[in-house]
């Protein structure tokens, strides 16, 4: 926070320039808060619209993922807008922060309705923007996509999912929890199973029943082992290639539990044997470059579990920045 009283300082006194005085654009200097006033005029121009979705009381296990939108914003000051690998400066594009979707403390159904409504509003008013939802747990994905469908009823929607789990659990058991978003979308007719591609499944974190359901519904899944053999980038490009022939808009959902737990101490559901950081970033970059990818989310990252220097919060933030870079490279 800058000293707010400079005018009253005698003109003869020269302050030092603030720390980090060099002409660096940090991410928090790039992303603008969206105000209702500015919204109409910006609705055409914005490249990225971020919305916080601080809901994790719908998570099967106790989760503080609702704290991630705030932690994500605080992490912005650790990143510049300039990507050296690609020689691209995100600051050349417009990014807006639409704030957080309001939540109810004890009525999860209303929370979900609020997300659908907020998503529909954003997808409607920002037709040229990539909408980036910052969760929250994975239950929010079904709601974001339902909002997308409300706003663009004529479009067929496909999904690229990075995940350790199918997320195809039966909703009749425990409602729309973080174990169900994909089934929710299938059963509600919003997305066909065959328009879903799940990359990163592995190990002992799913069941045979769910696999059978996936196969019945035509859900495509590529285990981490197979994706590694083919190449993560190649796998993602391959999935997108097939999917793009059928759908109008592709929604990318990044469940951070796809990561190996050594890379993601702040994701309680992450597991031994998952993706490395490099693999996930490679996959996200590949997805972001595809012209039909119009929205994304990052879910299941609990900042309260992260270790002292916040590796997971920083990685979650890097996922968003990588996505934005990929979009600029289209």
């Amino acid at each position: 926070m800058n000293f707010l009283y400079p005018k009253l300082v005698p003109a003869s006194f020269t302050w030092t320039r603030p720390e980090n005085g060099a002409p660096v654009t940090k991410v928090h200097e790039w992303i603008e808060p969206l105000s209702s006033e500015s919204a109409p005029e910006k609705s055409k121009a914005a490249d990225f619209v971020i919305v916080g979705v601080p809901l994790s009381r719908s998570s099967i296990s106790a989760s503080g993922a609702s704290e991630f939108p705030d932690a994500f914003r605080r992490a912005w000051k650790s990143f510049t807008t300039y990507n050296l690998d690609e020689d691209i400066d995100l600051a050349e594009r417009i990014a807006l922060d639409a704030g957080d979707v309001p939540m109810h403390v004890t009525d999860i159904r209303r929370c979900h309705e609020n997300i659908v409504t907020a998503a529909a509003v954003l997808f409607d008013h920002f037709p040229n923007s990539k909408i980036c939802a910052i969760g929250g747990d994975h239950s929010i994905t079904a709601m974001m996509v339902k909002g997308l469908q409300q706003a663009r009823a004529q479009e067929r929607i496909g999904i690229i999912q990075f995940d350790t789990h199918f997320d195809l659990r039966d909703l009749s058991d425990n409602g729309p929890s973080n174990g169900t978003p994909m089934r929710n979308l299938i059963e509600s007719g919003v997305v066909k199973g065959s328009d879903m591609y799940n990359i990163g499944l592995h190990g002992f974190f799913n069941t045979k029943d769910l696999k059978q359901y996936a196969e019945e519904q035509g859900v495509h899944y590529i285990t981490l082992g197979k994706a590694r053999k083919k190449g993560i980038k190649e796998t993602v490009e391959d999935c997108l290639g097939h999917l793009a022939t059928r759908v109008d808009t592709i929604y990318l959902t990044v469940d951070m539990d796809v990561l190996d737990i050594a890379y993601a101490p702040g994701v309680p559901a992450s597991t031994p044997g998952g993706m490395t950081t490099a693999e996930l970033l490679e996959g996200v970059m590949a997805a972001a470059k595809h012209p039909k990818v119009g929205a994304m989310d990052i879910v299941c990252l609990d900042p309260l579990k992260d270790t002292l220097v916040q590796p997971t919060v920083k990685l979650g933030t890097h996922v968003f920045l990588t996505f934005a870079t990929g979009v600029m490279l289209r």
Copy 2:
């Protein structure tokens, strides 16, 4: 876990006695699981019936208090049943563990109904037992007391509450969260405001509105400062003395956030300036000795936040053991 295959070991081989071989009764050896089969016969004899209430998705802030019932049970092995200060052995009494109330992942209303039902069942079938609910967040208290009322409709119920907060928030804002249990009971006519005594309020953790509501409803509150001046024990005895003239059964609710945060790193809502461990244990002991105290709960303890050696989980467990000792001293 003991070695399960002793029979097959040659008779000529003498095992060493297990570690801790001395004739010590640890708490986990004392408390028996309640089975449906044994329930009827035990219903008369049991002194204490424990029930886990693993609900914290109703908490305003993200909470892992739903993990406390399990952590509480694991902590039993750190305690013997013998209280040296009072020369009393809890093992002389019967304690049963009724397991956990089933919960729903996304329907908090159903969770609350389940708690009411389970409480009613327990209060009905164990008329001579102290029912001890292990939360979970503070929203469960309203449900436990409603269950008590269902089971014993003819009884007038009073409450002794250790808390840093009034817990009198308006339910029309966000439903029956952990900020509302006392108002919930008042508005539903289950307990009169004037039959509630809240001990331990202090600092900047309440609002003037809530204080006014408390006063309108006749809720008694004794700030920590005043309780300290008079003596914690004396304060509790005084409250009980007044309350006992009016009610049939007294329910003791211990919100662990009444503790100073230095003593309770595992209670995210604990605050600077709260009770010391010694003060809380003194207060619980005083309450437990009163013959009309028939039930209690321990809430808002999040084991996932505790530090390495688990001081807060151990303290929460000690609160229960102190309560049981007080009951034996009646």
Copy 3:
């Protein structure tokens, strides 16, 4: 962060009220940022002006106390403005946040000059306000008091200090570090040693030389043991009583290392055998009530060392709120 796009939501849709929807004033809703524009008009009315002083590279041991101003502001949302013990609402008074004093990365002398200048500006333009400096390490105290003297050259200044150390080290050794502020003020003639009262010294954290220097300069010191015997409140009142007969303005400096390390894991220099939270808050309250206390600071709190639920950051924040309450009780 609230959802920023409400206007575009269909009027037929009713959002739930935000979490914590009840009419609660949290501290972050009370304290206003000071803008240059509003400064002149507010200069009469403001009761409290907060200024962050994020300097700790002048600390003898490696310190992250420069992070405390930010952590302090983030902690505001954990506190309401209403003090239940005293039935006082801070929101009835005006509090301004002047932001942080700009710092230089490698020139500590310039950092110190900046603090003096900023302090002089604030003490000059806000003659009726209590200036509250949020450190940083203890070297800043000398600079704040020098700024006070620049602004009000005619006033005699006295100091009440809560500290485990004398902070009277020789400046010719290593310059104006956090071990020297009191000696700095004595040697520069800003404050007389006999106008300084240090409360809380104890144990093995000082040297005989420093004690002799203190005595030569007439610095008053009351060890924690003696203060406890007399009563913390009585000790502070006694010191203030004597000091007020001689000086015009009293500056209160709270070195958080006065606390016992069990209460202050986020103060690396805190020690076994220090003050309890209750004692420090009692002392701060007593000081704040005195009409001549016109400024205060809180120093040496390193949020990067704090444990997960941030007990020390919360306690540091509580110290400020307690000070403000005391001022209102005058």
Copy 4:
């Protein structure tokens, strides 16, 4: 813990299904406790028999590896029995938990004798099972293998070892510590040095003397660098291929300190430059598939050092599950 009192709930009340209500088999639902009664009949059928070996007072450095058997069992509920990569369900096989070998607090020799006896009993009565010992420190390996030899005196035994160390220290220095198990087996004539294959050695964690001893005894060792160059799987298969021509039974010992410390914060002796999780799991899978591998252990994992979300405990558990999968794939 399930609610134990369902019978008494009115039939008209419908509980929600428990969380995780879907037909998922978690590992803790699969593995059955072995009782003396059931032992004879199960002795033919069991595929896996687990035995806890909670001994780490024989460790050179202070270790809490004695806590791993308990932590291992608690981690079961984080895993399903279904391995998606291989489309195999462990639940189709029988796994028994024989509990923990009893230990003595101050007589390490007796602890070791107890392990030998327990191992002999298990290897004798479960001739068709894979015996899986959960340490404990690495000293237990010598005892498990001695027990194996007692039970099956006619068999020649070979060893595959994943380790950062030779574990060939001289027993005359400090007895059978965790630095000595391989030498112990060589010197006692139980296993020939030339029937031992150690994979994963690297860096500055061994001595020239030990290497010379290894070479004198014909112990095969493949440094991590060489194994990586050839492929972990290929290396393991190669070792097994040679070894299987000479021995009847192969014992697999997994010292978790073979892992890079970034993957294993709960293994104090893990080192920079060790195996990744993916490499270890690949190696264990390759070993498990070999028909002569009849027993395994997991040692030197100290759950008390693990970070909050327990990556190392989960990884240790995954090692067992991967082993079991490999066995099913034979």
Copy 5:
């Protein structure tokens, strides 16, 4: 570590004085290593002889208390030798560090013999010194006292013990563990039960059997509750008064688990409801002042469990410094 190459720096270059350049004596500058050469001449003059006893594999629960001697020495630099409360400078007395007693990795009996021998040597050669043993777990106390008896066979020895436990477990169960030292001394005839005073017992951490044994043997015990009521200092003085009429030398043993767990995160066996730091230091000071107290130990402090700023290691160190101060105040 100071720069070791000053001579070669050009004379024209003036180094700054090292940080902390002021004439402060830190504890690590006071305590001298004892060398064999200097031993004879120092044997008369030394006031304090410290010996590390890094044994904790004899602990019932897994313990890293063997790391405390090293951590204790590293903490010295956080303390000066000057006690401000008493205006006493420890540096006026001679303190020697005799290093650590050698230990065996797997033969706990030999470790114990080594301690007895080392203690006998020290008590023999330093008749005028206070011998201060830095554990290690509580089993070492029996060995230190046996060594004392060997060296001074004609003396009758008494014990003052600060502890949460009786430490009177039966040695026939599990040998001389940390649960047995007092019984060990009674049964071996070294100290009579009636010459033992245990202060600080409380809560649910002992058994009725042990209490009965204590009473049969005449062991005096004062619960923490009773000691608080009478005053810690008064309690200790009272015990010493009685004991001193009967014995020649008093051994003070400080089991750090006597502390409340909030003050001692680095003592896994510490408990809710134990002593505060202030109480323990008061008790140690009172004991140290008595002329017959000739030796002491500090046990059961596990630095590996301590939190980041090491409150428990610092407190353990403060216990020693307080003891030394008390001795100087005789």
Copy 6:
């Protein structure tokens, strides 16, 4: 610390050999303290001279990197001198520890001058040694290289840098902080931009301006992505090949923030997407083998942030040992 009093133990008593009694040379037994007396004679023979540079108050963000020299020395006992991969024993060479460069608390310019002077002295008197500076933050590199130039004015110096950042910030903003060392050397004419090779840059941690400055000055930079594609070893060898044709001495600087944050929790500036441990060690080994590499440093490692088992401190130590091994392999 060994027991220092062995002479007085009766000859008839046989101590056990110390733990780790085997003839292992640990790193702390290999590296000798450099004394002024021995310096002249050793100046020819020493292969490695270590100097601690405990300065991090010049770091842009709060840093405890000043604690690394001490932590580095304490970590020595976790490593032997024998490298198994290369069958090389460092103990065959001479390594000296010159202690720490003295620092000033508040005058960073003098700290920097002290480093230049100390470096010049060491480079002058140890012409045949590799000088290894243990930081501290990255600002020290400019000072070490300036000292090198003072000592060997006729030599042209080149730099190999492992880093996530350019470290080319403008010194006129905030002086010679840890963001500036490379620019500092360019602007002061000590090293040409075109004699600098920076390996490991990636992500969003630099700015376009700095890249342009780098290109104007001819600084060579190889992003991590490009280095990975070519091979880390091959990249380093390639850079050295070009550089060696132009310069006399090559200085290797290892900014530990080049590591992925999952591998380096003790480097607050480390980032998602950085090098793995294996990659860094491979790069350091390749650099060390080159005959013109005459000095190195390790910077920006903050031990106070490391996790419990100290993975980052151990890795920093391993970097030095790997460097020494590489030198022996020339």
